[in-house]
């Protein structure tokens, strides 16, 4: 156990990492390695300022604590500080993925076999000119100790594969992917038909997609697109560190403010399995289910202990660091839109002329949020018609949540194995997202 310096709050996070990476490009093995590392992040707080150190030498943790303490200004009443008071003191062993599920115990050859078992689906298609298959898993055990008495051990693991492929035919090109993330290796088998379906859709897109006529359209977002929409358009606005000391933001985003239509609810929940699973955050706070929006009203926001203390709101378990090199920031876990009461068929059939965004390349969210679609389709007279090429779909963050006029009745949560969320210097952080199919009355499509 560490000697925590007097008059200061301090904590130590030790990360024991196991990772596997396999890459096959056009049938040739390019990467196949396992990585096992241990490293630590140390924090000291004197009531006014934080002092951090990251180290790859675990024998130096006590020295790092002492060194940071020497930079700080001890306060005998540190335990009374509102931020320090906010920290939960959790103790115990919360290892979830044990023998049989622990990806570090599965031979790497089995992982390679899994990946090669899917590559025939892209190898056999002549229009696919280039493909890269990735397998990745990551198991992280975190040990967390604090000067308040927290002492816990918990784990996170994810595994998955991605088949990325580029098609070309008579001067036309198109790039698509199939990406599946999971928490257990056993969840990755038997997906051949889903991969095949995605490849077929991509070929159809390559052969038949037409440029979209730019302009405003009603748009149906798939669960993938809706999840990114929720993440970008609203999730980032819910991260409370963005509004500390900012009176305009506090007024604009006051709890109870109507931000969307009555039928809209958005949730963030680190308890949910998937890429965003975060049983404890890097403040040592246990995961919570947090309704950001309930029935269109702003109900809560995402917090670290620092922001929860500053805004006098409850902890939510959203202080997350990318890895041992970084301090925790307020980040999302699994963020999704709750289901509505319509079927996808109803959403489409009620639309005279519009767009369906099925898969996306990326999204962003400032005052204008953006979604760059990959597979997208025109909807004409209530049916899904031809594929369309779209550079970007945009909308105002402040208006779009009020423009939702339909939600399908089934939520799909998605986890991807590569990519994630970026914030400041920390990314990509694994997050989960999803929702039902979401119909928006008007978005700008280009």
């Amino acid at each position: 156990m560490y000697q925590f310096p007097a008059g200061l709050y301090s904590d130590v996070r030790i990360e024991t990492l196991f990772e596997t990476r396999i890459q096959i490009t056009l049938g040739k093995l390019e990467q196949m390695n396992e990585r096992k590392t241990r490293a630590a992040f140390v924090r000291v707080f004197d009531g006014k300022r934080w002092y951090y150190a990251s180290t790859t030498d675990l024998d130096q943790i006590q020295n790092q604590l002492n060194r940071l303490a020497a930079m700080a200004h001890p306060d005998p009443a540190i335990l009374e500080h509102p931020v320090v008071q906010k920290f939960e003191v959790n103790r115990g062993d919360f290892i979830r993925f044990k023998e049989g599920e622990d990806v570090s115990l599965i031979p790497i050859e089995r992982k390679k076999d899994l990946l090669t078992g899917y590559t025939y689906l892209v190898e056999e298609e002549p229009k696919i000119k280039m493909w890269v298959a990735h397998y990745m898993d990551q198991r992280k055990v975190k040990d967390f100790y604090s000067s308040k008495g927290a002492q816990l051990s918990f784990d996170f693991q994810r595994t998955g594969f991605r088949l990325g492929f580029q098609l070309a035919h008579e001067g036309e090109t198109f790039k698509e992917r199939f990406d599946r993330g999971a928490n257990r290796f056993s969840e990755l088998g038997g997906l051949d038909e889903k991969v095949r379906f995605r490849v077929e859709k991509a070929i159809d897109f390559l052969l038949h997609a037409k440029p979209v006529e730019p302009g405003p359209f009603p748009v149906i977002l798939s669960p993938e697109a809706a999840g990114v929409f929720a993440h970008e358009s609203f999730g980032h606005k819910s991260e409370a560190d963005m509004m500390l000391g900012d009176e305009t933001m506090k007024q604009a985003w006051k709890i109870g403010t109507r931000v969307g239509v009555e039928k809209l609810s958005i949730v963030d929940d680190g308890n949910l399995l998937g890429s965003g699973y975060t049983p404890f955050d890097d403040d040592g706070t246990a995961a919570k289910e947090t309704f950001l929006v309930k029935n269109g009203l702003l109900t809560s926001r995402l917090h670290s202990a620092t922001t929860a203390s500053a805004l006098e709101e409850p902890l939510t378990g959203n202080a997350r660091a990318l890895n041992f090199e970084f301090e925790p920031l307020v980040r999302m876990t699994t963020t999704y839109i709750k289901e509505g009461d319509k079927t996808l068929f109803e959403l489409v059939s009620e639309m005279e002329d519009g767009i369906l965004v099925e898969t996306i390349n990326h999204g962003s969210g400032l005052s204008t949020f953006t979604i760059a679609p990959s597979l997208a389709f025109r909807i004409r007279k209530g049916t899904i018609a031809e594929p369309v090429k779209i550079s970007v779909v945009t909308g105002s963050v402040f208006e779009t949540l009020n423009q939702i006029d339909g939600l399908s009745n089934r939520v799909e949560l998605l986890s991807f194995v590569l990519g994630g969320c970026g914030k400041m210097e920390q990314g990509p952080l694994p997050v989960g997202f999803g929702g039902p199919y979401v119909r928006v009355k008007k978005l700008d499509v280009r």
Binding site: R35, S54, L366, S367, S391, V392, F398
Partner: protein, 410 residues
């Protein structure tokens, strides 16, 4: 058997800024090592954090060799090259105080805004040595000022960015740069929509992302790139020369050699020269497989098999300043243009969240939110205006790129 050792070490002091005040101080001292064994057919690699234990890594690399990852390429050899990039910075012990003073001045100069995020300084050491008499060592000092800036009257989570990598610490000059931008931000301005000049910083990903995708040697070699088969063809305006660069003068802050030890003359390799496609970027494998020039664009995580990686792309400056290039035409400086993209065939559209009216030298006021659009071959072809000889900012490499785009009010 060839043995190769790759090592990187990062020492960093990071000052976290919140609301234009120092909120936290982070120190980092991280070492990563990898040992590669190559038998002429395959490669085995093992990696570790912290101190290098060569014997242990060698054992693990031998086991990795049995995985039979093909790598039938000769490594770089017979070269000893050590280079340093140093900066003029205050002593580390005075650094926090120095930043506090700077932030106080910034707050006073721009009371309508809050500045948050990071000021990082440090050193990156990278070395690559092998049993073929190769010893490459790079030591690069860096200073990165990255602010997310929030207008206190705005409901946005952020309204603008300021990013600089100065070669020396000159707080007055940095403050002048920030004042130029944010004084203009506070003056509303208008521009007539239509096909008008738009100016980007040359490092802007919005400008570069399609090139990074389509100039990839793997995409090119397999026929999946829209440029495939067009090497030697004039595809763009003759004023466009785009190189991959590891030259610190071009805003690159990494080692002078790539992950396979390739060093280019002048630390640059032209991919598009005078509008003519010269080469896609390649590592050894892509170069050998598709019979393409080796451009030295290998990269990867420290313990990975060297693979192709998007390089730092750099627009070669022209002979005219941006003011000369624009003539009397008013232009849009696309300050924050995020989230846009190209379709597979090159159509481009992007929102511009924050922009300034710009005459090539002075920022004249803030424009409303805009949408911009064009096509890759038009914006870098007939509608390309050029690359400036001058920098937008005096403290960091910041050449400007201008082109005519279709601009609409959002």
């Amino acid at each position: 058997m060839i043995k190769e050792i790759f090592q990187e070490k990062i020492e960093e002091i990071s000052i976290q800024v919140e609301q234009t005040r120092v909120d936290a101080i982070r120190t980092k001292d991280i070492s990563r090592n990898a040992l590669r064994l190559m038998d002429g057919k395959c490669i085995g690699i093992a990696g570790s954090l912290g101190k290098l234990d060569e014997n242990r890594l060698k054992e693990q690399a031998q086991a990795s060799l049995k995985l039979e990852i093909p790598y039938p390429f000769a490594p770089s050899e017979n070269s000893h090259d050590h280079r340093k990039v140093e900066l003029e910075l205050p002593d580390e012990k005075d650094w926090v105080l120095e930043i506090e003073r700077f932030l106080q001045k910034l707050e006073k100069a721009q009371p309508g805004f809050t500045f948050s995020q990071k000021i990082n300084r440090g050193k990156k050491h990278v070395s690559l040595q092998n049993s073929r008499n190769l010893e490459l060592r790079s030591e690069v000092s860096f200073l990165e000022i990255g602010f997310a800036v929030k207008d206190k009257n705005s409901k946005n989570i952020m309204d603008a960015f300021y990013f600089a990598e100065p070669r020396k610490w000159n707080p007055e000059a940095i403050l002048d740069e920030i004042n130029r931008l944010f004084d203009a931000y506070q003056k509303p301005a208008q521009i007539e929509p239509g096909k008008i000049p738009v100016v980007f910083l040359g490092m802007d990903e919005v400008v570069l992302e399609k090139f990074k995708l389509e100039l990839n040697g793997l995409s090119y070699g397999t026929g999946a790139s829209i440029f495939s088969g067009k090497m030697g063809e004039k595809l763009f305006h003759e004023k466009l020369t785009l190189s991959q660069s590891r030259n610190p003068d071009d805003g690159f802050s990494g080692s002078f050699f790539d992950f396979e030890g390739v060093v280019n003359p002048g630390l640059r390799y032209p991919l598009i020269q005078g509008g003519v496609l010269q080469a896609p970027f390649t590592d050894r494998k892509r170069s050998a497989t598709y019979n393409l020039p080796l451009t030295g664009s290998s990269g990867g995580e420290y313990d990975a098999v060297p693979g192709i990686k998007s390089p730092h792309l750099w627009f070669q400056p022209g002979k005219e300043t941006m003011q000369q290039l624009l003539g009397d035409r008013p232009a849009v400086f696309a300050w924050v243009a995020m989230g846009g993209d190209y379709t597979a065939d090159g159509h481009f559209a992007c929102p511009v969240q924050t922009s300034l009216l710009f005459d090539g030298k002075k920022f004249l006021g803030r424009l409303p939110a805009l949408n911009i659009s064009s096509h890759l071959y038009k914006m870098f072809g007939e509608d390309f205006i050029g690359v400036s000889s001058d920098d937008m900012f005096s403290q960091s490499p910041s050449k400007m790129v201008a082109m005519e785009l279709d601009v609409e009010l959002a």
